[in-house]
Amino acid sequence: MYIFPEGLYVDVRIEEVFETKISFKKRELYEQKVRSNKGAFIRVFDGNRWYYSSLTDLDYIQEAIDTLAQMATPNPNIMEHPIVKAFEVNKDNIMTYESQSVSSVPVAEKQKLLEEYLELLDHPEIVHHTSYYVDNRTVKSIYSSKGTAVTFDKQTCGIRLNLELSYGDNKDTVVVSKAAVRFEQLKGLEDEFKKEIEKSIIFVKEAEPVVPGVYTVLLSPEATGVFTHESFGHKSESDFMVGDETMKAEWALGKTIGQDLLNIVDDGTVIGNGYTPYDDEGTKGKKTYIIKNGKLTGRLHSAVTSAALDEPLTGNARAVNFEFEPIVRMTTTYIEKGSRPLKDIISEIDNGIYVETVKHGSGMSTFTMAPARAYKIENGKITTPVKVSVITGSVFETLAEVDAVSEEFELMSFVGGGCGKMEQYPLPVGFGGPYTRVRKLTVQ
């Protein structure tokens, strides 16, 4: 297909993207956009340095390969280089969504579905709303000079209702959303949305400022997902560890960092926003236990980090789009479910905070989570809604504070947004888990 120059490793990633965005401001149609774009990212490696190029005219891929090759220094032993040796060679074609593509659903049908949900928004407390239907179907093809030739598709769609609430001097911005992979899955969500809207209205009317302090915190599946992603997920991305002996020692495989009940997984095969049947350098998606029974058992890798740390590939080299190179990223990351009913876990909390929904989170040495809706837990019961700016904890200590995970379990995806790492944002990821109890977190 392409002529790969001698003495160099080359791979080519081609992305064909179909997207729809429909939005309403209140009841007025505001935007209806359908677009189809193509682009490619090319990498050339000479054993010493990588050379990258991104382009939008696919007719120029060979020219771009040749231009990058001129910048590189051919290496007769390139195939013996540890990174090149690490690359899997796969040949595959997985078109999961061809027969149920969002591109074959008429745009009028998508608009009608969104309009139907606007009926739910007639409340005096909802002073403004902007609502979206979005979808994306991406077909990726990856070819390498080692022989990889894989093509697969991914698909997501969703409804997102951005609500501005006002009740006297109390204001709030609320997002009610549902992500799916097939258009049909977005139908019949009235009851789910209605329940969320009603909870948000009660929250804006009744929420009190939280008394800052250290609390036992119960996390919903959504909050567990953000907590897992921020408190530990980023730590498991091994590009942070390459060449860093202190990090390698601190996060040595086999180290105990949580109780036996704690199992954390990253799985690119889970359907949803994090679905990565092949990563962006052609490695097959895998289920990786990062923590098993409280012990550190794995890390997330690209070929570069796999070779550097002499650990197996995990299929986590991902790029946000065709303009960027793949770097180590999460796919769908979650805590595995436990065996205890939620009601039993709540009943053991005398004075705590329940975090139900989350605006955003971050994870450096201190991880953070900004709750959208949080509640007091008093004497084993969820009671008064509370306004919380931020919940924080040390990434080095917090996982050891997890002392209960529920049998109830849910995986999910956000509609819009995603994970950010340096210049690459937003990358779609999946997340979730059980209800999780953390003995001590700082709440402000």
Binding site: K21, K25, E28, L29, Y30, E31, Q32, K33, R35, N37, G39, R49, W50, Y51, Y52, S53, S54, T56, D57, V107, Q111, V127, H128, E164, L165, S166, D169, K171, D172, T173, V204, P209, P212, E230, H234, V242, G243, D244, E245, T246, W251, E323, E325, K359, H360, S362, G363, M364, S365, T366, T368, M369, A370, K387, V388, S389, V390, T392, F396, Q444
Partner: protein, 408 residues
């Protein structure tokens, strides 16, 4: 039928760094084109990445008219304005050389740290033209440096940053400042005593975001803003003036909005001497809610003009940080990721990276702590001032802002 064309051309060379060595060079040359057509009070949009013909895009935009999206507003027109802000275009080869030179010194003299991320040179051209005589072009070129610092003895993902953005670059000034910064990273110092300390920030993202949301004309008019019904009220310290700012000298972005509006002095005052005097609007919001039009439309090159997050800038109101501190030591925040305001204005954030600061020089690295305040306190009685950045070589347009905050 009127037609409007938006073209964005972005060229970038990125020198990617890992473990204080160049590990990759990335080149990008991408064109994005958008077309809008206007007919009978309706708008149709289309767009594509790549050098697609105008005819094809116009055809798609005309098809999009059938969606029936209203746009009964007068088009911007009869305005030709070409501006080029790129003073010193830096080539791909030069940025690689700059990167190699800086990394060689870091490897030789700062081996206790490792550095990653990269050096970037960008050239951008953004054009907006229409059949009503609008002909705008913004050209710019700049370099940016973003190096994540990792202390080799630390188990953190990262421990700090070196950064620069600007249209020209002076290696001597870069080192004069960053040697001080790197020495400070080696010098761990305790927090000054006291529950309340002067805290300085460069770009306080959470504050900008909260103000931008609260000064959105649509949110204001519909009652969802914390400032709703407060037009003319004194909200903040009387030193504070906040403008909607589109001056590319302050930040590399076009001097026109996504409806082709060019403001006098590239700015519009929203808060004057602490008093709320305006909220930002696009044509639709100004018309629907009978508000002054401030030319604040944003949006994608191939999308509808919309009203989200207008660029805001505090006017410089103070001159000398050291004099304002009156001998007290301050905290200079470098990274406070993850904090937020509640809807009623309470604020809390963990500070991951900060320095002890005497108003001119960076003294040493502080431990992690938490800052807490409220919008009306930090921009009210606890406000210290907004200062030109005279001593820290961080690039074009950077300001320093200070407030007293509760430390925990």
């Amino acid at each position: 039928m009127d037609k409007e064309f938006i073209t964005i051309r972005e060229k970038e060379t990125a020198v990617r760094v890992q473990n204080t060595k160049v590990n990759a060079v990335r080149m990008k040359d991408i064109v994005k084109k958008g077309v809008r057509v206007y007919k009978d009070g309706k708008i149709g949009i289309s767009g594509a990445v790549g050098d697609i013909s105008d005819e094809a895009l116009v055809h798609n935009a005309i098809e999009n008219l059938s969606a029936g999206i209203p746009y009964p507003y007068e088009l911007s027109g009869n305005c030709k304005d070409y501006r080029d802000y790129g003073k010193q275009r830096i080539s791909s080869a030069e940025i690689v050389d700059y990167g190699e030179e800086i990394l060689a010194k870091l490897r030789a003299e700062y081996d206790d740290f490792s550095f990653s991320e990269g050096f970037f040179t960008n050239e951008v051209t953004i054009q907006m033209k229409n059949t009503q005589g609008l002909d705008l072009e913004y050209r710019d070129s700049y370099i940016s440096i973003g190096l994540v610092i990792k202390d080799k003895k630390s188990a953190n993902i990262f421990d700090g940053f070196l950064g620069y953005y600007g249209r020209s670059f002076d290696m001597e000034k870069f080192w004069a400042f960053n040697e001080e910064v790197l020495e400070a990273y080696r010098n761990q110092v305790p927090l000054p005593k006291g529950d309340t300390l002067p805290v300085f920030t460069f770009e306080f993202y959470e504050l900008q975001k909260f103000l931008s949301r609260s000064l959105n004309g649509e949110l204001y008019a519909t009652g969802g803003s914390i400032f709703s019904n407060k037009m003319g009220d004194k909200l903040f310290n009387e030193k504070i003036t906040i403008k909607q700012d589109r001056d590319p000298a302050n930040y590399p972005r076009p001097f026109f909005d996504m409806e082709g509006v060019v403001l006098e002095d590239d700015s519009y005052t929203l808060v004057k001497e602490g008093k709320l005097v305006g909220v930002y609007t696009d044509k639709r919001t100004a018309s629907n809610y009978n508000l002054p039009h401030t030319g604040a439309a944003s949006g994608a090159y191939d999308g509808m003009p919309t009203l989200v997050d207008a660029p805001l800038r505090f006017a410089v109101d103070s001159d000398d940080i050291k004099a304002a501190l009156n001998g007290q030591m301050a905290v200079l925040v470098v990274a406070s990721s993850g904090g937020d305001f509640t809807a009623d204005g309470s604020f809390a954030a963990p500070v991951q990276v900060s320095f002890l600061f005497d108003g001119e020089r960076i003294i040493g690295k502080l431990p992690e702590f938490t800052i807490r305040s409220h919008l009306y306190k930090m921009l009210g009685d606890d406000y210290i001032g907004t200062f030109k950045n005279k001593h820290l070589y961080l690039g074009d347009g950077a300001l320093l802002q200070g407030y007293y905050m509760t430390i925990a």
